[in-house]
C-alpha cells in the first residue's frame, strides 16, 4: 500500500491477506483517477445529469422563525434514489468501470445504499449483488423490490444477527472469493484503507457546495454544522470542507435508540470504546472481551456497532462533538420538519433535525446560523413512522 490510511492512530488495513492485493489495486486506481481530468468530467456529468447535483442549501424560514436562528438545510434528500449515498456509489461505480471490474457487490442495512448501488449497476451495465440481513429483508420488502427491479440480486444473510454487520461480513467473504473481477462498493466511510479516504473523497462534494452556498447567502461561514452519524459518510462529507475552519462547530448525531442507559443504541462514539471491526481501528460497541454488540436504532442507517475511523479521530481530537438523540426524539424531529417545512426527512436525518432543535433552544445559541445536513428523504420510512405513531396506512 502507498498510504497507511491512518487518521491519527485510527483507520488502517486490518484485512485478511487475500484482500491485500485487491486493496492495493484499488488504492492505486483511486490515487490515479481522483485528480484525473477525464474521470472527473465523467463523474461530474453523472452527478449533475443522473443524480441531480448541485443540491440546494435551503433556508428553512418557518423553523428559523420558530427557533430564533438561521436554519439552513443541505438538501441531499433531493438526490436521485433519495439520499447522499448516490454521490459515493457513482464515484466508486465509475472507478470500478475504469478498473475493468465486471461485477459490483454491496452491503445494505435498510436498503438505501443497496438501491443507490443497484441504480449505478444498471447505469453502467454491471451485474450487482447486494447482501442484506434477513431481518432487514423482512422489514424492508419495498426496498428489496426496488433493488430487484433495477436488476440487482438481493442475497439475504441468515448468519449471526442477520442485520447490517452480518451483511458486511458476508460481502467481505464474497469479495475474498471473487476478488479478481468484483468491486466491493462499501457504502460508508468505514472499512479498511482506502475505503474511509475514498468514500470521504466522493462525499466531499456536499461540503464544497455547502461552503460556496453559505458564503453566497450569508457572506460568512455558518456557526455550526449538524449531521447524523451511522458509519458517518454524510457527516464526513459535509464536515470535511470546514475542518480547517476552527470557528465552525461540527456536531455529529448518533442513534441513541432507547437511550444510552438501556444498552439498546447505536451511539458508538458516545458510548463505545476503541476496537478493530470490519478492517479498521475505530470506536465500536463491544463487551469487555471485545465481542461486538448489536446496535439498535429506529433508523436502520444508524443501526451499526462501528463508526468511520476519521470520526474517531475528530472525536478524540475534539474537533467535532458527538451527541445522540433517542428514537422518540428522532421521531419528533421527523414530525417537526414535516409540519413546519413540508419536508419529510429520513429517520437518520431526523436525528440531526432533533438535535438542531435542542441546540437552538439553548439561550446562548440564539441567532446562530445552523446548517443541518438533510442526508435523505423520508419516503422509505413512512410505514414505520406511521406504525410508531399508531396510524394505520
Amino acid at each position: 500500500m502507498i498510504e497507511s490510511g491512518k487518521f491519527g492512530k485510527y483507520g488502517g488495513i486490518f484485512a485478511p491477506e487475500l484482500l491485500i492485493p485487491a486493496l492495493e489495486e484499488l488504492e492505486s486506481a483511486f490515487l490515479k483517477y481522483k485528480d484525473d481530468k477525464k474521470f472527473n468530467q465523467e463523474l461530474d456529468y453523472y452527478l449533475k445529469e443522473f443524480a441531480g447535483r448541485p443540491t440546494n442549501l435551503y433556508l428553512a424560514k418557518n423553523l428559523s422563525q420558530k427557533m430564533g436562528c438561521r436554519i439552513y438545510l443541505k438538501r441531499e434528500d433531493m438526490l436521485h434514489t433519495g439520499a447522499h449515498k448516490i454521490n459515493n456509489t457513482l464515484g466508486q461505480g465509475l472507478l470500478a468501470k475504469y478498473m475493468g471490474k465486471k461485477r459490483l457487490i454491496a452491503e445494505t442495512g435498510a436498503g438505501q445504499h443497496g438501491i443507490a448501488t443497484a441504480a449505478v449497476g444498471a447505469l453502467f451495465g454491471m451485474p450487482t449483488d447486494v447482501y442484506m440481513g434477513m431481518e432487514d429483508v423482512k422489514r424492508q420488502r419495498l426496498n428489496v423490490f426496488r433493488m430487484e427491479i433495477s436488476g440487482a440480486k438481493v442475497i439475504p444473510v441468515e448468519t449471526g444477527s442477520k442485520t447490517l454487520k452480518d451483511a458486511i461480513n458476508q460481502s467481505m467473504r464474497d469479495w475474498m472469493t471473487n476478488v479478481q473481477d468484483t468491486h466491493y462498493l462499501i457504502g460508508s466511510t468505514m472499512g479498511f484503507h482506502p475505503y474511509p479516504t475514498m468514500v470521504k473523497h466522493f462525499q466531499t462534494v456536499i461540503g464544497k457546495e455547502t461552503k460556496n452556498q453559505i458564503l453566497e447567502k450569508e457572506k460568512k461561514l455558518p456557526d455550526v454544522i449538524i449531521a447524523c452519524v451511522g458509519g458517518g459518510s454524510n457527516a464526513i462529507g459535509i464536515f470535511s470542507e470546514f475542518i480547517q475552519d476552527s470557528e465552525v462547530e461540527l456536531i455529529g448525531v448518533e442513534g441513541g435508540g432507547h437511550g444510552i442507559d438501556s444498552g439498546n443504541h447505536g451511539a458508538t462514539l458516545c458510548a463505545g470504546s476503541e476496537g478493530v471491526l470490519h478492517g479498521s481501528l475505530s470506536y465500536v460497541l463491544q463487551d469487555t472481551d471485545g465481542q461486538i454488540c448489536e446496535a439498535h436504532s429506529v433508523s436502520a442507517g444508524l443501526d451499526y456497532p462501528g463508526v468511520g475511523p476519521e470520526h474517531a479521530y475528530l472525536h478524540t481530537k475534539r474537533r467535532a462533538r458527538y451527541v445522540n438523540v433517542t428514537d422518540s426524539e428522532a421521531l419528533r424531529g421527523f414530525q417537526l420538519l414535516s409540519r413546519y417545512e413540508g419536508i419529510m426527512p429520513a429517520l437518520e436525518s431526523a436525528h440531526a433535525v432533533a438535535y438542531m432543535e435542542k441546540y437552538a433552544q439553548k439561550p446562548e445559541n440564539k441567532g446562530k446560523t445552523i446548517v443541518v445536513n438533510l442526508s435523505g428523504r423520508g419516503d422509505k420510512d413512512m410505514f414505520l413512522a406511521a406504525s410508531i405513531l399508531g396510524v394505520e396506512v
Binding site: F14, I20, Q286, Q291
Partner: protein
C-alpha cells in the same frame, strides 16, 4: 507419539518440555510424514465436550493443534466455522475461558498449540497482556486472520518478547515482494491459504495451490502448512505430496460437530474415524 512426555508430568507439563514447531517438523521428517493439524473452536459445543474432542484428535494422531477463540464477527471464516464460534459464545466461552481451555489441554499434551484469534480480542485485552497470558498457558503460536504485516508491529514485538511464533497467511494473490517480506517476518511456519475465499470444505485442491507451495519453497526455508478448504484425506495427501509440510483441517471436523450436536458419542466416533484417515494420508510416498 509424544504422549510419553505426559507420563512424566501428570497434571501439568513442564514448559521446557513443550514441543516446538521445529522439533515437530524434524520428528515428522524422520518418519517421512507431513503434519496433520486439526482446527476447532475452543468450547464448541461446550467446554467439556470440546476437551473430549481435543482428546479424540490426539488419539487420531494430531501433530499439532490449531485452537480458535470464538469471535462474534469472523470475516475470514465461512458459515461452518462462524456457526462454531457462535455456539461456543452461546455456551459461555470468552477470552478468559478460552485461555483456561488451553491450560486444560496442556495437562495432557505437549504438542504445539497455535491460536487463531481475531485481532479485536487481542487489542481489547491489550496486545502485551494477551501474549503474556498465552505464553503462560503454553501457547506455541498466534495467528490473527485480520492482521496483515502492515498492522502487526505491536503483535510482533509481543511475540518476540514472550517467545511465541507469529504466524502469517500467504494467499495465491500474494505477490513476490510481499511474499519475501512475509517470509522474513514469520516464524514457526507459513500458513498457506489454499483457496480464493473463506474457510470451508471444498471438493478438490486447486492446481494453483500446488504452484504456490513450490513458489514459497523457493523463497523460504520455513515449513509450509496449507489450510482453508482442506476437507478430505485426499486433499491432505495432495498438498503433502506437492511439498507442503502439513495440512490444517477445520471445517470438515467442525461439520461433524454440527451434525451430531445431540449425539456426542457418535460425534467423537466420527471425528476419530475421519481424522485418523487424514493422519494416515500424511505419509509421504516416494514416487
Amino acid at each position: 507419539m509424544n504422549f510419553k512426555k505426559q507420563k512424566h508430568y501428570p497434571g501439568e507439563i513442564h514448559p521446557n518440555t513443550l514441543e516446538t514447531y521445529d522439533e515437530m517438523f524434524k520428528r515428522l521428517k524422520k518418519n517421512k510424514k507431513g503434519a496433520f493439524v486439526p482446527f476447532i473452536v475452543a468450547g464448541d459445543p461446550d467446554f467439556e465436550t470440546s476437551i473430549q474432542i481435543v482428546k479424540t484428535l490426539l488419539e487420531s494422531g494430531a501433530d499439532a493443534l490449531e485452537i480458535g477463540f470464538a469471535f462474534s464477527d469472523p470475516v475470514a471464516d465461512g458459515p461452518t466455522i462462524q456457526e462454531s464460534d457462535l455456539r461456543a459464545l452461546d455456551s459461555g466461552m470468552n477470552t478468559q475461558k478460552s485461555f483456561e481451555f488451553i491450560k486444560r489441554i496442556r495437562e495432557f499434551t505437549s504438542i504445539p498449540i497455535g491460536l487463531l484469534v481475531y485481532y479485536n480480542l487481542i487489542y481489547k485485552k491489550g496486545v502485551d497482556e494477551f501474549y503474556k497470558e498465552a505464553k503462560k498457558c503454553g501457547v506455541t503460536s498466534i495467528l490473527s486472520a485480520d492482521l496483515p504485516p502492515e498492522e502487526a508491529e505491536e503483535a510482533l514485538q509481543a511475540a518476540e518478547k514472550y517467545n511465541i511464533n507469529q504466524i502469517f497467511l500467504v494467499a495465491q494473490t500474494t505477490q513476490k515482494n510481499r511474499l519475501d517480506k512475509i517470509c522474513q517476518m514469520a516464524s514457526g511456519f507459513i500458513y498457506l491459504v489454499s483457496v480464493m475465499g473463506v474457510t470451508g470444505a471444498r471438493k478438490e485442491v486447486q492446481n494453483s495451490t500446488v504452484d504456490l507451495i513450490k513458489r514459497i519453497r523457493n523463497h523460504s526455508d520455513l515449513p509450509v502448512m496449507v489450510g482453508f478448504g482442506i476437507s478430505k484425506s485426499s486433499h491432505v495427501k495432495d498438498v503433502i505430496q506437492a511439498g507442503a509440510q502439513g495440512a490444517i483441517v477445520g471445517s470438515a471436523i467442525i461439520e461433524l460437530i454440527s451434525k451430531n450436536l445431540d449425539k456426542p458419542e457418535l460425534m467423537l466416533q466420527e471425528i476419530k474415524k475421519e481424522t485418523s484417515k487424514m493422519k494416515e494420508a500424511t505419509l509421504i510416498e516416494v514416487i
